[in-house]
Symmetry: C2
Subunit: 338 residues, 2 copies
């Protein structure tokens, strides 16, 4: 650590500083930095490497991006990063992208379609190599401008690339579990209408109840945004109705947290009076009271698949579906083992 050099360098070293220091041309520096496309003699390479270290040279990602027309970066747009599920997704993506040498540009659309669009435009202008988006609008189209894009929800337009969890089947499994517990009035605490994921989960709830010959009318449905507060408000409304449900399928963990708080406040015991199954299966479900039986999304798989879809040279299938699985805990009435 003999860092006694004066080093009055005011601006970071560029490729030509390195070239000069190593006594080679700038092209050669590029060749060694990128391992190609031309071979470099061992001795020369060593000199360049030395010079790089000496000058603490770091390639300028922006210049590189301009030249290559791609930034070694991917974009992620979600409705609300503070939602535990999206947070976990962002984390997974940030780490995987980093390991693949990509930066992650994050856009929070704040549950606003206009803002979503603006965020997307902004990210695209930054020359991202690919965009991963949880969109608020299943019908949006032209927003991708040549940038490989993968949606993490069902789309109206089948031409758009998607990686989606099987929402319908997941919801179905969750509801069927409630049916198996002998519950008869199984409500849905869903996401806002129009949101692609929310709609599919609604249909799964519906289908399971139809198959079981149980009621699934509007009286059993309430909707809210995907956050704790929304879940709380909707649950209060739901539990105050004249004929109270004896179970609820909740379309996200954060909403379920709100519902749990509402149930406590109203003196409704979970799972005895009200069995609950939620969707997502994040840590929120694991550490709540009672712990939530949940349809768990394979976040790591989703992240990996989405990244591959965007970055892989070989074209993967346009639509990839991953499966959720039911993780039984206590909120449904099952006794947790151990």
């Amino acid at each position: 650590m003999s860092d006694d050099s004066p080093q009055p360098r005011t601006r970071p070293a560029t490729r030509s500083d390195v070239a000069r220091a190593a006594g080679v041309s700038t092209a050669v520096v590029s060749y060694v930095v990128n391992n190609g496309p031309r071979p470099v003699a061992e001795a020369t390479r060593a000199r360049v490497l030395d010079a790089m270290k000496e000058l603490e040279y770091t390639p300028n990602a922006v210049a590189r991006a301009l030249r290559l027309r791609r930034a070694q970066a991917v974009g992620l747009v979600v409705p609300d990063v503070s939602n535990t599920y999206f947070g976990a997704l962002a984390r997974e993506l940030s780490n995987r992208a980093f390991e693949a040498g990509f930066a992650l540009l994050l856009g929070d659309s704040d549950n606003d379609i206009e803002r979503e669009r603006a965020q997307v435009d902004s990210l695209i202008s930054h020359q991202i190599d690919g965009l991963i988006i949880v969109s608020l609008d299943a019908g949006s189209d032209g927003e991708v401008g040549g940038t490989p894009t993968v949606y993490l929800d069902q789309r109206d337009q089948p031409s758009q690339r998607t990686v989606v969890v099987d929402n319908l089947r997941g919801a179905r499994i969750g509801v069927e579990h409630l049916v198996g517990h002998g519950r008869r009035r199984i409500a849905l605490l869903g996401g806002m209408e129009g949101s692609p994921g929310a709609d599919a989960r609604f249909r799964g709830w519906q289908a399971a109840l139809e198959d079981a010959g149980l009621p699934h009318g509007d009286g059993l449905v309430c909707r809210s945004e995907f956050n704790r507060h929304g879940g709380y408000e909707a649950a209060v409304a739901l539990l105050s109705r004249s004929e109270r449900p004896d179970a609820v399928f909740v379309s996200s963990d954060v909403q379920a947290l709100g519902l749990l708080a509402a149930a406590r406040r109203l003196g409704v015991s979970v799972p005895d009076e009200l069995a609950v199954v939620s969707f997502d299966g994040t840590d929120d479900a694991r550490y709540s009271d009672p712990p939530l039986t949940a349809v768990e999304q394979p976040i790591a798989e989703i992240a990996a698949t989405a990244l591959r879809a965007i970055l892989a040279p070989a074209e993967p299938p346009l639509h990839e579906t991953v499966q959720a699985r039911l993780v039984v805990r206590r909120s449904c009435g099952c006794v947790e083992p151990a």
Copy 2:
């Protein structure tokens, strides 16, 4: 939406496409895009605007960044975005940055100092205009390379710009509240040693107990990472000790969630047998069971201040401190109003 034009355009329009279409020079296009630095005649401006719309022109942020040496982007590095507090911070920052015309590059350091360093380097190579970081290492130094950086935690080096919540005072207030409830064995469930925020909260806990003449030995301290699982494990250990504490000050909401789960599992009632106050005051605290009395960080203020510190032309003070405030809920033994 008469989108019937053939539009075989293969690459996005550039500034010179616009210039050609509008019959002006590229400079003029720049002047209208940037509203300066030279004035443009109204009529000319209108022609340019038309051409831009016609060609669906979007400025290339990367070229601009190369030229200007700044990317209209800020970087954020946190140990774990899936922690509700960091998620909320990221959300706040993403939205504010967006409104100011900046993109947000997110780096998750995954609680790993090496990775933190690598993420920082990566972000800097992307020419970010500023870096906001929650560092794992209070002593790190040279990592900033001319990029304005603000740390959201205390630093060993006073030359580094910081925006920090008053951790010591916050912890103190939280612990004093517990003392006021007549608790005598007030434990600390803290973050890992060496982490700047965790250490300050530890000292606050210590100081409050010292002032109150209460014990604050190692027997009352346990530490874990800032996540639910860590909090759970540490709490199990703590609550299994021969002389059990009658209160705990927890240094983050997510750890407190873990502690709450552990207490339930062990049959320790909160707040009766164990009063709890946590730090952060995110939605996690509001919707837990029981709701957590918490020392609440002013996330919006932190985000705004940090952004300003980085972007403002006028140099703000090198160190800015914001205050946390105690939000009383039920976990401490107070009866929540209403």
